[in-house]
């Protein structure tokens, strides 16, 4: 009776175009704007389901309720909407770090933005947990800071995702 649940991989919701090497903005609202824009690069159809403005307001609204800076220099702004058809994400880095209202008061360097369909909260939760685990892996964090291009960032994220898979399958071995 037990069916193995499908594993959510990073490549299911992250495309190489939605990566930003360095965030230019340094204030929270502008950072959110940049992150929103990121979701739309490489996804020309997205603006037909939901406008960039609306997506930005959803993210900002969630951020108003409580910061998504979860400590450890990680921030994961996220929101869901019935207009969104599938889970999508984008990644941006800040070398100098941005004040994002994090729990541990540290500036954030790793930004992962997520937008998901309201009808699929389970997948949203899975994505949040995968990202927060991924961004705590030491080698991934180092590789992300050392990257010199968006493709190096993409490779670092995918390598981290592989590592999570390896960890998981090792745990499942009896």
């Amino acid at each position: 009776m037990m069916t193995r649940p499908p594993i959510l991989r990073l490549s299911d919701f992250l495309i190489p175009q939605s990566i930003l090497l360095d965030i230019e903005a340094c204030q929270k609202p502008e950072v959110l704007r940049e992150l929103t824009r990121l979701l739309y690069t490489g996804r020309p159809d997205l603006s037909r389901s939901i406008s960039q403005d609306e997506a930005f307001h959803l993210l900002a609204e969630r951020e108003m309720l409580a910061a998504t800076g979860i400590g450890n220099a990680i921030a994961v702004p996220h929101a869901s909407s019935p207009k969104v058809k599938q889970l999508i994400g984008g990644f941006a880095r800040s070398l100098q770090g941005i004040e994002f209202g994090a729990l541990d008061r540290l500036p954030c360097q790793y930004f992962f933005v997520l937008l998901s369909p309201t009808s699929q909260p389970k997948i949203h939760i899975k994505a949040l947990s995968r990202i927060s685990r991924l961004l705590t892996l030491g080698p991934t964090r180092e590789a992300l800071l050392a990257a010199r291009s968006t493709s190096e960032i993409y490779q670092a994220l995918m390598a981290g995702d592989e590592q999570l898979e390896a960890l998981r399958s090792r745990q499942e071995q009896p």
Binding site: M1, M2, T3, R4, P5, R62, L65, A66, A67, T68, G69, I70, G71, V76, H78, A79, S80, G101, A102, L103, D104, R105, S116, P121, K122, H124, I125, K126, L128, S129, S132, R133
Partner: protein, 454 residues
């Protein structure tokens, strides 16, 4: 079910009270004549006075026709003997409380299974784990692990600057659906509220919620704006709990002090613990507390076997520093007092033990029962099985009792926060939060196929 409880201490008595009021046929054995008389007067149970280590006493309490024996006297050895007799006399379920690790440890000379004891109850590891996790999770004042650790039950105090303060349940629910948490109840003063969408969270409230272990980091910023991790801990009392707690937190915090009055005991502990600084003396001696750098203490854990000493030491520590306090309290009467005095974390072994025992008594596929510290509310964790009424309709059409709610569903290994449209499926692990009056109805909803009387 016919249940024989041996030992009418705090655990035995509250089990007798609860199980008899749920309609089970309960007999109790205790040595204390006054206690036996009191039980006879107060509860609908058969109370027998005598030494439970004697087969004749067990027989006079009707052990031959009993379905379940629960041995919870203060003496491990008596409990062991009762468990062995019960096995020999054909009692189906034998639940025995044993606290000494020499009996329960993996390296035990005599495996308890060989003695016919099938369920050993020991609240101490659960308590140590809860305290350790509350040190790791900023601001948590209540902790329980559910669904094999995938879901956490947490309690938090809402402060005026907490981002959740002033928010409505509907707002929090919407965020929780995406972020994997659900608010179960609000404690406001003496009241426990099972919240509706229009209720708001107010400063001063204590809330209980369930949250997915993996998305916990996203919940914390809703509770506090900033947090300072716990770096320094003082443990008052070198009890088994005190020593294992020190061992568990040594790698997680900068400094641990342990205060033990008995000099021999203190020496033994100092030898056993690697990084903990052991001080011999009285935890209510302010000079000694200062020696343990009380002014820099983040959490003061009073966990000796003496309730009054624990309370006094914690209050003294709080008065002379900014530390938060965790206090082990055995007597149920003290729980409310401790709360009103501003002690943040109150740990009650009775609740843990009763929860562990109720898990064996409740019908259906129950995995665990967690009692919340300051109310009679329970979190019942169970597997939904084919044919039970709860599977027949969406949650909104199930006529769920008002004082109960489905807090979370773990389906195929991942957490779901249910809403009215959710339909429970066979194989789901379901976490139900219920106040006492709702428990029988919840049990019926999740009973397998047919409803059997108690």
């Amino acid at each position: 079910m016919k249940i024989l409880i041996v030992g009418a201490g705090v655990v035995g008595e509250s089990l007798a009270d609860q199980l008899s009021s749920e309609g089970h046929q309960v007999a109790v054995i205790d040595q204390d004549r006054r206690k036996v008389q009191e039980l006879e007067d107060k509860l609908d149970v058969l109370a027998v006075r005598g030494n439970a280590g004697m087969p004749s006493v067990l027989k006079s309490a009707g052990i031959q026709n009993t379905d379940m024996v629960i041995a919870v006297t203060d003496v491990d050895e008596i409990n062991l003997v009762v468990g062995m007799f019960a096995a020999r006399m054909g009692v189906t379920h034998r639940i025995v409380r044993i606290r000494n690790r020499e009996y329960t440890g993996a390296d035990s000379v005599l495996p308890l299974k060989d003695l016919g004891i099938d369920h050993v109850i020991n609240p101490e590891p659960t308590i140590v784990n809860a305290l350790t996790r509350m040190i790791e999770i900023p601001g948590a004042i209540d902790f329980g692990a559910l669904a094999g650790g995938q879901v956490l039950l947490l309690g938090f105090l809402i402060t005026a600057d907490s981002p959740a303060a002033g928010r409505s349940m509907a707002e929090l629910r919407k965020v929780g659906e995406a972020d994997g948490f659900l608010v179960l109840n609000i404690h406001r003063g003496e009241k426990v509220i099972v919240p509706k969408g229009s209720d708001t969270v107010e400063p001063g409230d204590k809330v209980h919620l369930v949250v997915s272990t993996e998305t916990l980091p996203f919940l914390l910023p809703l509770i506090h704006r900033t947090v300072d991790p716990i770096k320094q801990v003082i443990i008052a009392g070198g009890s088994r709990i005190g020593v294992t707690l020190a061992e568990a937190i040594e790698p997680k915090v900068d400094r641990v002090f342990l205060i033990e009055p008995d000099s021999e005991q203190a020496e033994e502990i100092a030898e056993r613990l690697e990084r903990t600084i052991v001080l011999q003396g009285d935890a209510t001696d302010l000079d000694l507390l200062k020696e343990a750098s009380l002014e820099r203490c983040d959490l003061f854990c009073a966990v000796s076997d003496d309730d009054q000493l624990n309370m006094l030491a914690a209050l003294l520590a709080k008065k002379h520093s900014k530390t938060r306090a965790a206090v082990l309290v055995h007597q149920p009467e003290y729980l409310a007092v401790m709360q009103s005095l501003g002690v943040e974390i109150i740990v009650n072994p009775r609740l843990v033990t009763v929860g562990e025992i109720l898990m064996h008594v409740r019908r259906g596929h129950i995995h665990s029962v967690t009692r919340l510290a300051d109310s009679l509310a329970e979190i019942i964790e169970m597997e939904a099985t084919e044919g039970s009424p709860a599977l027949r309709a969406k949650l909104r059409d199930l006529h769920f009792p008002a004082n109960a709610l489905v807090g979370a569903i773990v389906r195929e290994g991942s957490l779901m926060i249910p809403d009215g449209n959710t339909q429970i499926a066979a194989g789901d692990t379901v976490l139900v939060y219920a106040l006492p009056d709702a428990i029988p109805r919840v049990e019926k909803l999740f009973a397998r196929r047919r409803f059997f009387g108690p």
